[in-house]
Symmetry: C2
Subunit: 227 residues, 2 copies
């Protein structure tokens, strides 16, 4: 089977479509590839939506990115992965990633908000059947969690590859949405006595916890202490 | 219109259904109400899935909880909220919330994972048309971001209420999934030279940033400094 990788287009932006142009807040929406890649790569989980028996299902899952293609993996017994393998020509999905960067407190209840960065990807997921692409995908999934980690762990063996299903989703119909800055209170509310501003929020790492059965001679790798 | 609030059942657990019993990892799945409420209340955004033109859509959005009912709001021009108002008998949705608590590094690429807490709610969303329930819902949305904040901000006026659509989703078909602890490496991998363990991850708050136009006499409220 030929691995047809998506065009790594020289265009800096994704093409807008009916589904990626929002009804509101167009000024917060972007189609910039570098922005989209950055938001995706900074996230540990995505939320994958698909339709089962006519109803929507949204599940959190790990993912990896290789250029303009995303990969998701799971047990061969997993429902969406089975569905993607059986569906012809693939499984329609929507994959969404969101970071919450701050709580926005306005004088009015109405203008409360959050600062965030999100990416929404619409498309059709396909099962990855080529063994070489499957290995590439699984490395990308591990490296997405900890960059470079696939080189510092035991690679998958045949039995593990057989037990793992991988699906791919190309980045074609994609948009990012970003809100930054303070509250947008109405002019007549500015003198109200309520505090207004932003409470920033960020993910922070704790100290690495070694596995109970880890040989104490194995040091914490630099790629973890650097976080 | 009568406001039929859901049963605040005395049962400690949600009833299992075909959709909430997973194909795998049943030991990580729980139907405990207190656990579900805690996971929901600790999240600032949910991912709301619905079906549009036969395809799945997943959007991040704020939400609030009042007992066994969730509320989501948006502009009356927002697509899912319009759809929920027009759909009869409501809009089938799946609402999912996920916290990432740690990166799980195993000796084998195959056993890499993350520690997480998630809740998945299946159901049908309905537009909230009763003015009193709408006010309750909007207060819950503000208080979900900062508990008690609805009492320390200007309440919505008629024009704002009219511009805001609210939908409700009852907690009936609900499950939580939780992974904790270290990697589950295979016995034959334990002597490999790769570090194994957990890198904990948590949300942390920065110092509150007052709005540029805030009167310096307005102090940062205690409910923010306490975080």
């Amino acid at each position: 089977m030929e691995i047809a990788m998506p065009d790594t287009s020289t265009s800096a932006a994704y093409q807008e479509t009916d589904r990626t142009v929002p009804a509101r807040y167009r000024d917060r929406t972007s189609y910039d590839r570098a922005l989209v890649h950055g938001i995706l790569d900074a996230a540990y989980v995505c939320h994958l939506g698909f339709v089962r028996d006519g109803a929507p299902v949204v599940l959190p899952t790990l993912f990896g990115r290789v250029g303009e293609r995303l990969y998701i993996h799971g047990s061969t017994g997993s429902r969406p992965l089975r569905a993607a393998g059986q569906a012809d020509p693939g499984l329609p999905v929507c994959l969404t990633v969101t970071h919450v960067d701050g709580l926005v407190l306005a004088r009015s209840a109405f203008h409360h908000s959050i600062n965030f960065r999100s990416v929404v990807v619409h498309g059709v997921a396909h099962e990855v059947t080529d063994p070489q692409e499957k290995r590439t995908a699984l490395n990308a999934l591990v490296d997405h969690v900890v960059p470079g980690r696939s080189l510092d762990s035991r690679p998958p063996v045949a039995k593990e590859l057989a037990a793992t299903a991988v699906i791919s989703l190309d980045l074609n119909e994609v948009s990012a949405k970003v809100r930054t800055g303070g509250p947008n209170d109405d002019a007549e509310d500015l003198a109200l006595p309520h505090w207004a501003g932003v409470l920033p929020l960020a993910a922070s790492y704790g100290a690495p916890i070694p596995s109970d059965d880890l040989d104490p001679a194995v040091a914490v790798p630099a790629y973890l202490t650097a976080r």
